[in-house]
Amino acid sequence: MLYSDKVMDHFMHPRNVGEIEDASATGTVGNAKCGDIMKVYLKIENNVVVDAKFKTFGCGSAIATSSMATEMIKGRTIDEALSLTNKAVAEALDGLPPVKMHCSLLAEQAVKAAFKEYFETHGGIPEDKKAFFDVLDEDEHSV
């Protein structure tokens, strides 16, 4: 099989699929032309991610990384959630095939894009957190 059992589990039984109607912020990354788009919804209360959901158009690993990434930030403080990396997402899924590594970057970018929107509607991105958003400038295909 192309994918690990964990990837297949998260693909077959994705966690956190859906929308949050009163989301604090959303982040959308990817492009339909390339075959993957991820949209992450965050509900943030008292600096804690109380809920995270996603919608994804993409392959099996795109759906699995969205599922895993939202799992990894749910219940975490903003600071903890911001430290999410694509590498951690891939590792939590017991690895991804090399051609699919960009999916984990896309998942990190979707989460970061949502946090970016959150900060921008809550007084701007704090100076000491700006580096967390450098990942949004990376080309997903260079991974």
Partner: protein, 408 residues
């Protein structure tokens, strides 16, 4: 995947087919008894030689060719490589221009690309929205330095059947060699090389219930191309190497069976295919049929489901017991979806959501139609988690940042 369903339905007959039991039965004695080398002069060798030449004659008869025009190769890809490169190298002094189409198999396209690196000039003819090559465009593309036209008989992804006879006639009038990749057409359409008027034609065994690892290149008498492999005197010294006699026997048997059963099989398969296409188009919204409505291979149904991606679709179908294929980028390992789907004008996002179902001789109507409820369920499930579908339902288009690598 402990909960995987046991019952499997194989609907990827354009990828490969099961080897028929009659074919296996015909091959076994050639492994175990008639095992000689056809080049040896003693009894075992001569027996093998006569078996080989008998198979060649039987295959020639199926194609309305002469036995001396049939060359055995290792696969369809080899046949395509040999026809194209062999012609290019033989006629390099006459010219270096080759005409092909945008929707050829990679065996043809990549052979042409390899020649382009050696200084040959390749014209890739466009196709219309159904995947048809326009013979008039072939005619106007032919120049004084054109040495070969290579257009497939039927497309492997969307099943479109090309006007090969017409194109062959144009090439004959213009005195340019014409090759056709008939790998997908074999077993589905009658192949009469004289009626088609082709100079070269490629076939592959494993698409018509013979084993993988055996192919044929028909080369019309009088057409000279460079040798593919130098060595012994096998295949008139043009394609050296000890003949794969068991598989050659298997190919002969499979081709004869496909021909004798064609009249009964084809209408049955076409009927199931049309029933499947109608059921999908009638019950699932936002689906399009790719390829020509009529001029298509009997077993081919290529459908694009909007708002979803093909690999996810394949994985879920696999889980439910169905083996199919897709033209999405994720299933090909490249960034772009199928070159065929892009050539017929599909936008990337629609091409990513394509599904190819290819029905074969051994599929029953019941098992083919059983994919419909599974498709309904899977497509809805994937759309429910698709942000594209959400945007569609909300009647808005999110302005996604264009991706430079893909937008080129």
């Amino acid at each position: 995947m402990a909960d995987k369903i046991v019952k499997r339905v194989y609907l990827d007959n354009a990828a490969t087919t099961i080897v028929r039991s009659e074919v296996v039965d015909a091959m076994i004695p050639v492994f175990t008894e008639n095992f000689g080398n056809a080049s040896s002069i003693y009894l075992e060798g001569q027996k093998a030689k006569s078996t080989l030449e008998d198979a060649r004659a039987r295959i020639a008869a199926c194609l309305n060719a002469e036995p001396s025009e049939i060359y055995f190769t290792s696969c369809g890809t080899e046949s395509d490589n040999w026809a194209i490169k062999g012609t290019a190298f033989r006629y390099a002094k006459k010219g270096k221009h080759i005409i092909t189409s945008a929707i050829e198999h990679h065996a043809v396209l990549h052979s042409c690309e390899a020649l382009a690196k050696l200084g040959y000039e390749i014209t890739y003819l466009p196709v219309d929205e159904y995947g048809l090559v326009d013979p008039a465009q072939v005619e106007s593309a032919i120049r004084t330095d054109t040495i070969l036209v290579t257009i497939m008989m039927a497309n492997n992804e969307i099943g479109t059947v090309e006007p090969i006879e017409e194109i062959a006639k144009i090439c004959k009038d213009k005195k340019v060699l014409f090759h056709t990749d008939a790998v997908q057409a074999a077993g589905a359409l009658p192949i009469d090389v004289k009626a088609l008027g082709v100079d070269m034609l490629s076939l592959s065994g494993h698409k018509l219930h013979a084993p993988k690892g055996i192919g044929i290149l028909y080369i019309r008498k009088g057409v000279a191309i460079t040798n593919f492999m130098d060595g012994g005197a096998q295949e008139r010294a043009k394609r050296a190497g000890t003949e794969n006699l068991p598989y050659i026997i298997g190919f002969a048997k499979a081709l004869e069976l496909s021909l004798s059963e064609m009249q009964a099989n084809i209408p049955r398969i076409e009927k199931i295919r049309d029933e499947l296409i109608d059921a999908v188009l009638d019950t699932i919204p936002h689906v399009r049929l790719n390829g020509h409505p009529v001029k298509r291979l009997p077993g081919n149904a290529n459908l694009s489901f909007e708002f979803i991606e093909g690999e996810s679709l394949l994985l879920l179908l696999d889980f439910m017991g169905f083996a199919c294929s897709s033209g999405s980028a994720c299933t090909s390992g490249s960034l772009d979806p199928s070159h065929v789907l892009l050539a017929i004008g599909l936008p990337h996002e629609i091409a990513h959501g394509s599904l190819r179902v290819s029905i074969g001789k051994f599929n029953t109507e019941e098992e083919v139609m059983s994919i419909v409820p599974s498709l309904q369920e899977i497509v809805q499930r994937l759309r429910d988690m698709s942000p594209l579908y959400e945007d569609f339902l909300n009647n808005k288009h999110t302005p996604y940042t264009p991706c430079n690598r893909c937008a080129k």
